[in-house]
Amino acid sequence: MSAHAHQQHDATGHHDEAGSVKLYVTIFVALLVLTAATVAASNVPLGRWHIPVAISIAVIKALLVLLFFMHLLGGSRLQWLVVAAAGCFATIFVSLIGADYASRDWYLPPPAPLEQQIWQPAEIPPSAPADKP
């Protein structure tokens, strides 16, 4: 946290005027194109690649809205900090929950052949000394 004295106008502070109309329209068109792309991609049989393609297109669209429509591009460093915090804590949240579900059946020892499972009537198992100290 830089120790900038706060009341003088912080250099990267938002200089209080909005972007140009032409910029917004181009971003709008880009979003429409990406929407069409993601819908088209869903009709193409991509098999395993469906999910990564759809997610990456959605991320690009979200970035476009964030950077231009929400003035993050010209915004102060604090706004970037907030977006970064949201990003990494959401990933912490999803990845650690995912880690549990992914690693649930990593290692399962194969069950013993049946005759070992069923209790053998007569012999006393060697591993059980009379009484542990």
Binding site: P110, P111, P125
Partner: protein, 324 residues
């Protein structure tokens, strides 16, 4: 039931001594650190009390070396404790291959235990001393937790999924069995006893059982006419189950998983969840709500007996029945 007051729980399983040793090391660390902090505070409080005539020297703002010292050293010690704990935790989580199976069904405020040899018990578990016992557990309603303090063993019992744990008793006698996960009004009455007996005694106790659990599973298999699809005569309508248990299964979509209790139960209740490769859109109806937990466990035990050579020697004579 040993009801005289004690300060330390009995050690009655192979894990008890290992966990207690780790507990004592942690206890030692706690006592040493607490005493160290208390003595330093008391010393400073007396020596530097307001108005005491003692030279205090220049005020030290901070000291990087000291700070690093008292964060790296505790971290290293803790990583050691972690490794030791993780090792025991790993052993505790995966039962040994050769273990005596017991099926546990937790139900709101009672434990139902089922031995493969057919013996069925409520809130009581007879086990032989010195032989590993694997518990395959499921709940019929809410989350319970199978907890035997003397064995230092606890495992939550989930509705909808099998959880397994194991122990090897080293001392004969009776030990408390508690439910450790809050499960409703009589959560504190969902108690029971684990009775550890000598192996010969246990064998005699077992003899008085009629019909194995696998035979009950076969009964359910025939009642619900599973054989109409899962049999060689039915051609290729459903995967053959003989010898399938425990081996990897290739699924539609390229995944391969092992054919274990959870997969069997899920396929019985939600057949579309994981379809075996080569069997396309399955016409198998869901048995959700028609089979209770015991029947599913019995079916699974029957599937296990199908994958073994001969059924258990003390099984009912119908071992080699016509069903596949």
């Amino acid at each position: 039931m040993p009801s005289q007051f004690r300060f330390f729980p009995e050690q009655a399983s192979t894990f008890a001594s290992r966990i207690d040793l780790l507990y004592f090391v942690l206890l030692a660390i706690t006592v040493v650190m607490s005493v160290l902090i208390f003595v330093m505070i008391l010393f400073f409080m007396i020596r530097y009390r307001r108005g005491s005539k003692v030279i205090r020297g220049p005020q030290v703002g901070s000291n990087l070396r000291l700070e690093l010292l008292w964060s790296i050293i505790p971290l290293v010690i803790m990583m050691g404790i972690f490794a030791w704990g993780a090792d025991i935790y790993f052993d505790r989580s995966y039962p040994p291959a050769a273990a005596l199976d017991v099926y546990v069904v937790g139900k709101q405020w009672m434990w139902k235990l089922q031995h493969p040899q057919g013996k069925r018990e409520i809130n009581e578990l007879h086990v032989p001393r010195g032989y590993p016992v694997r518990l395959t557990m499921i709940s019929q309603d809410v989350i319970h937790s199978f907890y035997v303090p003397a064995f230092r063993m606890k495992q939550d019992v989930l509705p909808g999924r099998y959880t397994t744990t194991w122990f090897e008793a080293t001392k004969t006698g009776e030990f408390h069995l508690f439910c450790a996960e809050y499960c409703g009004t009589d959560h504190s009455r969902m108690k029971g006893r684990v009775i550890v007996m000598e192996p010969a005694e246990y064998q005699a106790w077992l003899q008085s059982s009629t019909g194995t659990f696998a035979s009950r599973g076969e009964q359910v298999f025939n009642d619900f006419r599973c054989g109409s699809c899962h049999s060689p005569e039915a051609g290729n309508r459903a995967p053959l189950l003989t010898g399938a248990f425990g081996r990897p299964v290739a699924l539609v979509g390229g995944q391969t998983i092992t054919f274990d209790e959870n997969y069997a139960r899920e396929s019985i209740l939600h057949p579309q969840a994981k379809i075996v490769a080569g069997f396309g859109e399955t016409a198998m109806p869901t048995f959700e709500g028609q089979l209770d937990e015991e029947q599913i466990l019995a079916l699974i035990d029957y599937l296990k007996s199908l994958s073994g050579q001969a059924a258990s020697p003390s099984a009912a004579p119908s071992a080699g029945s016509s069903a596949p």
